[in-house]
Assembly symmetry: C2
């Protein structure tokens, strides 16, 4: 890691680089990948669920019957991706889709009983691993981290 910083210093020394921004963005991305891998290799491994599959189930679990565009927005993925993930979760019998009562364009999503049971058993484990991930940060730093990231998200959403 220190070697990396030296190599970067040497190559980019002559340029006018915003290193604070660079490290912030780089670390967000790397932490995100590492966390996803960690969760997929621990809690999610035996379920066959991917990170995104879990998140989609979680959103439907939280909100109850929902519509695809809303679930996609809450999960932070595109509608096209949501369609693909729902297809996968349907094949696992964790989630089902059915027509909207009055609008033929719309679709409703809900967890199956199997999916509900899975979430009840899985979420506490998932949350324990989330706590493990941030274990080295004290409470204040965790809140500051979440707050800074929310500011970034809001800034990008208002662009």
């Amino acid at each position: 890691m220190r070697q990396t910083e030296e190599a970067i210093g040497q190559r980019l020394g002559g340029l006018n680089v915003d290193f604070e921004a660079m490290w912030a963005v780089s670390n967000i991305y790397r932490a995100s990948s590492a966390i996803r891998n960690h969760l997929e290799q621990t809690v999610l491994r035996d379920t066959g669920l991917t990170w995104t599959g879990f998140v989609v189930m979680w959103v439907v679990w939280i909100w109850g019957e929902s519509e695809p565009r809303h679930v996609a927005a809450e999960a932070g993925i595109s509608k096209g991706t949501l369609t693909g993930v729902v297809k996968t979760l349907e094949s696992y019998r964790h989630l089902r889709r059915f027509p909207h009562p009055t609008d033929g364009r719309r679709v409703m999503l809900a967890l199956t009983p199997t999916g509900e049971r899975l979430m009840l058993g899985l979420f506490p484990e998932f949350n324990r691993q989330e706590a493990f991930v941030v274990k080295k940060l004290d409470s204040e730093r965790r809140r500051d981290l979440a707050t800074s990231l929310r500011h970034i998200l809001e800034h990008l959403e208002n662009t």
Copy 2:
């Protein structure tokens, strides 16, 4: 966003949830996705490069001639993924691979002259967008953010 928190409070109220950890992890992931999209839709769009394509070129640019497993580690992706991304970058003539002088198992990677020129023009733009991404945070918060994330990364790497 506030509605989301209310729905979560209602569903998870009876469980013993570490909300700080949950929000920290969730926001890391969402910020990461949003940042990648932003960069792919702005600076990288006209180049045809993906986020990961850019990162791989950047790593080879910083280190000079490199080997795949090293580039994969620096870029935070698996060796299998690195092979696929290198294939894409080779087809764009941005990067080339050639045999290791003495070890038949190993491969060397280097940017082509075209790739070097692209990085010289692209990186300052990329870094400007990185600065834009974190624009709403002051200098101290940016450093704290990068530091907290590095602690998370180190913790996960030592598991």
